[in-house]
Structure formats: structure tokens, C-alpha cells
Symmetry: C2
Subunit: 171 residues, 2 copies
Amino acid sequence: MASRTSFADLPCSVARTLDVLGDAWTLLVIRDAFLGRRRFSEFAESLPIARNVLADRLAALVEHGVIEKVRYSERPPRDEYRLTARGRELFGVIAALLAWGDRWLTPEGEPVPLDLVHLPCGHAMRAAVTCGECAGLLEARDVRVRANLGQPLPAAAAASAGPAVQPDAHA
Amino acid sequence: MASRTSFADLPCSVARTLDVLGDAWTLLVIRDAFLGRRRFSEFAESLPIARNVLADRLAALVEHGVIEKVRYSERPPRDEYRLTARGRELFGVIAALLAWGDRWLTPEGEPVPLDLVHLPCGHAMRAAVTCGECAGLLEARDVRVRANLGQPLPAAAAASAGPAVQPDAHA
């Protein structure tokens, strides 16, 4: 793979996150880890991906602290890959991607590929992204963005129907 | 760019979503659209990206119905790019990526780059991913996955600390 531009230095948590999760394979590796896969051979069997690319993505996830490599057998030496606390907190991102895909990309007349059952309430459910303060469903038009680092934000979008986050640089 | 493996045919909404959102540039274009950017020149100014790559990503987003191209001037002919309903619903994904990055990737002692203010409640807030049925915070260990298409899922992970989604193929 050619080296990729690093987004890590952009003063934006989305960009920083994408520097870690930067390509689709990486997110599919994480999805697989949430599905219980741990061994290199399990990931290799699940994903249509070259072994060197898989090894590269796993190594990057270990480097970023999303997955840890744990030796589970000494003779022969064998390692497995487990999500760290940081990695387990990506469940919300994966669940949000899945919910959007269920809603917009499921072929008409087909069931969604996977049901997620939330054990505490017992329901098959879809993830919702909500406000951490008031628990209301987050919609772009209800959110105003303030820059904390003096990063220029574009002038507020015209009031017509359109992108809805309201930039409001106060830095 | 070399052509990329298509994930669209994998029976998984995460994979289908990643086929649309497949690389970090695409997600940063969407982030910028939520920040109110609409014109090619605004995206080009915001993102350290070659113009042909930007044009390619915008065209793919139009093709997938995430963004629409709208002519706003006839003479000279000028178009702008606006999120569609489908695109606006990606706000949750972007907000979840941002929340994770705020939490895990903000350098120590630095403020988070952006504050999101939720206008209905008036608070600076972080997104939470919750159960669409009971509104409880989603955690991987509380979610069981059932395959609807007979797709094999790995045997349930061992009960030790680890990946927490519990596969439960019932197909």
C-alpha cells in the first residue's frame, strides 16, 4: 500500500479518528472483533483480504491501542487479538454505521442481514445516536459547532434547506 | 486510485455502508458538508486533497445518493453539493466518530477541537449511541447478534474478558 496522508495533525476529532480507522478494512477488522473473532486465521477466513494487508491493519490497530496482542499458547507460540477498552468503545461507531446501512442500503424486500438484540431490554433494535446531556435524538440541524482552537469555520450556511450544522466560531 | 474491492455484496450493513463511505476522504467531505461547505472550492480549500481525488469522491457520493449536485447559477454555470436526506442521516455516524476521537485521541491538556452544542437542550455535549428501543447506552457486551441470511457467525467467544458481542446464529 502506498503511504497515506496522515490526518492526525488536523485539529479535528473526526480527522484524528479517521487516522486510526482510516480505511474500510480496518473497520471490518473491528467489526469482526466484535463478532468474537480473535485469531489471525479467523480474520483471514472472514475477510476477502490479502494476508499482508490484514497483518498490516492488525499491527496498526495494536499500535493505536485499539486491539492488543495476547499470547494464548507458548508451545507452539500463538497470539490472538483482543479489543482493548478503547477498542470496545468503538462499538457505538460500528452500531451507527450498521444502523445507517440497515436503513438506506438494504435491498428492497430483503431482511436486514443482522439483528442486534439488546439484552437488558430484550428487543431487536437499531442504534440511535443521541445527545449525551438530554438524550434527545441528534439531528444535524439541532447542533451548533464551536471551534476551540481558532480553526476557521465557514460562514454559517444560508438558511435554505441544506446542511444543517450551524458553525459558530467563537474562538 | 487503484480500484478497490467492493464490499457491497457482503451480507452486512457495515460492509455495505463502508462501500459507500469507503475511505477517510469521503468521511471528511461529509464532515465538511455538515459544517456548511457546499462548493467545490470550499471543500478544496478545507481538505489537503488533490482536486481530482476530491472530484472523484464527490461524484461517488452523488452516485450513492448521499449528496446531490444543485445548480445555483446559470451564467456562469455553477453547481453546489448538498446533503440529501440520506446524507443528513449520517450525522450520527460523524458525531459518534467525533465523540470517540474526543475521548481517546485528544492530546493531554488540550481542549477538544470542537464543541457541539445541542440547541434543544442548550448544552455542550458529546454524542451517545443508545438502544433505539429502551434508550440505554449501547455497550458491546449487552448486544447479541443474530444472522438473518444464514451467514455463518463464529462460535460464541469464550467467556473471558474480550469481545463482547454474542453471536447467536438462529438462521
